[in-house]
């Protein structure tokens, strides 16, 4: 692994420096200033060589990490225009998921909107007929009314047949529409894979950046004020639906907890 060979190089460089330092001390103690300054010169050259090799190795590592991103971008534009990349691909796939789930939801609701009145009408007619039937059983009905009921019953049974067939079809359509979950599930799994790959590559970049900082002796300064401001802002930032509400103290789970929180504050 690249970082192993870097460690090896560092060790070699350190032992070289230690050797030179020992020699330097000897020469200085022996008042051999010319030889001492030659050793200092050699130490400087060793350091420069070390930096050069390290930077070369880092550049190669950086190049590899970037190539893995598969980014096809036009850098001459500002901001750079990305023609294609893994992230582009992931975005497109996620848009497909939104599209598919919306269509499935709309179609399902259409089926329900169609079915609801059918069910309601059948229910109402059945209820009304039951009242009439009760009158018949109590012998409260005259022959004309009975004839009406007779025909109405006939019509109703026909309606039932047609209506329930339609309901059956709609219910089946609804089941079929749920098939979106399979397609979206597959797409989401793929996107999760892409994201994990990108994360690995980013971690490589971060590691490389750390090594550059080590070599050049630069360390990132932490602006305390900016950090605190950022943390405060994050408290009320939108996060979308909570997926692990039970494990977080700063999130409520369900309408009851929302109501409790608000009433405890006097709202």
């Amino acid at each position: 692994m690249a970082s192993d060979s870097q460690l090896h190089q560092n060790e070699e460089f350190l032992s070289e420096l230690k050797e030179c330092a020992k020699l330097l001390t000897e020469k200085l103690q022996g008042d051999q200033f010319e030889e001492a300054s030659q050793i200092i010169h050699a130490m400087l050259e060793a350091r420069d060589r070390h930096i050069f090799n390290s930077v070369g190795r880092l550049t190669r590592g950086l190049h590899n990490a970037i190539v893995n991103f598969h980014v096809d971008a036009d850098l001459s534009k500002e901001p750079p225009h990305i023609a294609s990349s893994e992230i582009q691909d992931a975005s497109n796939r996620l848009n497909y998921v939104i599209d598919l789930t919306q269509k499935a939801a709309e179609k399902t609701m259409d089926m329900v909107d169609e079915a609801a009145p059918i069910a309601m009408n059948l229910g109402q007619e059945a209820s009304s007929l039951r009242d009439q039937w009760a009158r018949l059983r109590n012998r409260e009905m005259g022959p004309d009314e009975f004839r009406q009921l007779y025909h109405r019953m006939d019509d109703f049974l026909a309606q039932m047949a047609i209506g329930t067939e339609q309901l059956g079809r709609n219910l089946q359509e609804i089941i079929l529409e749920q098939g979106f979950q399979d397609l979206t599930g597959q797409v989401l799994k793929r996107v999760i894979g892409l994201i994990n790959d990108v994360e690995q590559d980013l971690v490589s970049l971060v590691r490389i950046a750390g090594q550059v900082e080590e070599i050049t002796g630069l360390a990132p300064g932490v602006d305390k004020d900016t950090q605190t401001a950022l943390l405060e802002k994050r408290k009320t930032e939108a996060e979308g639906p909570q997926i692990n509400a039970a494990t977080r103290a700063d999130v409520v789970s369900g309408q009851d907890e929302v109501d409790d929180l608000l009433s405890s504050l006097g709202f």
């Binding site: 609701m109 996060e239 999130v251």
Partner: protein, 123 residues
Amino acid sequence: MKILIVDDFSTMRRIIKNLLRDLGFTNTHEADDGVTALPMLKSGGFDFLVTDWNMPGMSGIDLLRAVRADDKLSTLPVLMVTAEAKRDQIIEAAQAGVNGYVVKPFTAQALKEKIEKIFERVG
């Protein structure tokens, strides 16, 4: 009662519209963002605002603040229907003057109760 439903997902707008219709509220209008909703509210006539939090242009919390800051709209009853469930957010909405907060996913019963509560207080 004229109601404005604001949410960037058309599916959710349809669900809320249907639930309101079942409760007897048939005069409903829709907007897909705070940005499009605000002018609609300002042109007047609305008695109730139901809004989501997360919207790309102007969020629900910003829409709420804009409504409360407008002389003509400041007393408009506002119900937030949203997936946002952080305590700090709920408190922020309450302090900004929201009249009710329903968290998604919600039941028809929950929506009904919150609406009744708002109008029993106002009316």
